[in-house]
Symmetry: C2
């Protein structure tokens, strides 16, 4: 059933039917009601292609996810982020177009996405410290929101980010207050902006605490369970092992915990662990009592807000780039305790 057929059924012109369905004021209310009833009855849905062609609006948002060549993995927070964003899209009648790209052909894919004209805006995932994608998108004139920031670039674009620096600063500070002096950082890849900022926060707190950073206690890599396990195993085998760990993700923290267990150490008593917790649906940090002391920030909420920001910018092309900074909460769990007395 298309518009023309529907119009014939109703004895109206396509014009009027179109206007009735799109809420234009120049149709009589009784006519509109008739049209809407018929549309429902015949299960009429406007053809997306024709509509896109006629209006120039795609009613669709592109999400471009980098997929790491190394582990051929997509960031596990992605599912939650998308879930949040999708709520906003559904409400606004938008579709979500997903593109996964390897690091190589990325700019080409952005260009194509823009030229094909089948997205109204883009969400950029996983920004690096300097990120050419931002310049490219600005040049293409396509509205976009970055999930995260690119610290080394002028900040005149739209972004939503968690205050990574502050979060890790506070977490480190807490460990110092508990008496820890040998604190290890198991971070994400530090060319990724979020990881770089976390490192900054970590180092800032150490410095305030009068503690020299020890490169041997700092590790960065893709945030897998294995990274946590290997990093912790290595560090614990050293002459002056750390008494506390700061981890960039729950799965990494679980790897650290496994390494502790393998050495017969008890988390929260022998060794303290703080992790960042993205509040993922399938990997809650405990139910009533948190397992890990953690800096927590819901990535799902971030997804929803990012989508809302983008939709607002699409709706009002003149508006300045929106920016949102979310603060993480520091929640106390069972994985931290006072530093053990040096033996």
């Amino acid at each position: 059933m298309n518009l023309k057929e529907l119009a014939e059924h109703l004895g109206l012109s396509p014009t009027t039917v179109s206007r009735a369905l799109n809420g234009y004021p120049e149709v009589k209310e009784t006519t509109r009601a008739r049209v809407e009833a018929a549309a429902r009855r015949y299960n009429y849905t406007p053809n997306a292609w024709a509509k896109g062609l006629a209006t120039g609006r795609a009613m669709s948002i592109g999400h471009v996810m980098p997929v790491s060549k190394m582990h051929e993995m997509v960031n596990p927070v992605f599912g939650d982020f998308i879930t949040g964003a999708s709520e906003a899209y559904v409400e606004a009648g938008y579709d979500l177009k997903l593109t996964l790209v390897g690091d190589d052909d990325e700019t080409a894919r952005y260009r194509a996405l823009s030229a094909k004209g089948n997205v109204d805006g883009i969400i950029v995932h996983g920004p690096h410290l300097t990120d050419r994608r931002i310049d490219l998108l600005r040049e293409l004139g396509l509205p976009f929101v970055v999930h995260g920031r690119a610290s080394e670039m002028p900040a005149d674009y739209a972004w939503i980010d968690m205050n990574n620096r502050r979060a890790f600063d506070r977490a480190t500070e807490l460990l110092i207050e508990l008496g820890h002096r040998r604190i290890a950082l198991v971070n994400g890849l530090e060319h990724m902006d979020f990881a770089h900022r976390r490192r900054d926060g970590f180092l800032a707190a150490l410095e305030r605490g009068g503690i020299d950073a020890d490169p041997a206690l700092m590790r960065a890599g893709e945030m897998t369970e294995g990274l946590g396990f290997r990093a912790a195993s290595d560090m614990l085998a050293r002459p002056y092992p750390p008494t506390a760990f700061l981890a960039s993700s729950m799965v990494t923290a679980m790897g650290i915990w496994r390494a502790l267990a393998a050495r017969g150490l008890t988390m929260g008593r022998d060794v303290s662990v703080i992790t960042h917790d993205d509040d993922l649906g399938y990997l809650r940090n405990g139910e009533d009592v948190p397992i890990f002391t953690a800096t927590r920030s819901s990535v799902r909420a971030a997804g929803r807000t990012a989508a809302e920001m983008l939709l607002r910018m699409i709706g009002d092309p003149g508006c300045a780039p929106l920016q949102t900074l979310m603060e993480a909460e520091l929640i106390l769990g069972q994985s931290t305790g006072p530093a053990p007395r040096p033996r």
Copy 2:
């Protein structure tokens, strides 16, 4: 830059340019080369909407993910599945359109997706034992592939599935051979088809081993870490605790492991654990040595195959529904060992 402008630049008609770019035989090779060069130079990309409208093909595949109301979570295997599927789409020039739906409005969303005509096919995620979606899609006449099966429905649709029954049968058999008699199952929600089949396999192996299934040792729920922890904690507190666990996912197994650790039990010695391992990028089951003994099947490979099947079916509408059954491998890790002597 659109087709008409490009044609004017070249002093050709839009017809010829279109044919040249789409590989039709009736243009001279030298002309084709000229056209292609110009297209590249002016960065011409055909407008997706116009193309879709003219051809009736959407060049886009819909993925419809149910998002569980209970934990507002999307299945964590999703990211990997999509990564696999996306490889096939990129090669074939297809887009991926993602729709997340709550359990309520699902049929409406499928109808809309079909009527809007902006997908050529659909991948159905998370089928239940009986699943109305399959009837609906058949009725809509849209090609589709189900990731999983719906056991209680006629199997004349296209699907790709892992042999869940066999996998859990073998895993249970292994535990029995190791001397375990009190074996617990911590499963996914059993109205989901995969979980139901795993349960069947588990029960079949118990029966062959002459062991009565104990309802107190069977738990089903959303496959979170918390489920594993709670189920194992409860069961271990019972008068006759299990000596082995079978878990439906890695995160659940990690929850079980945490419960063991909390009671001072060592996995692989005091209590054995086997899990299913979807071979997720960020949650590898150990690097060289597997942490868990596991039934393993790559969900990423499944995603890729599902996409290829769907594309083939779209390319050849006459072809019968394709079906693929993948076998899981049973890999030995450190989490299993002989049943301890009863005290």
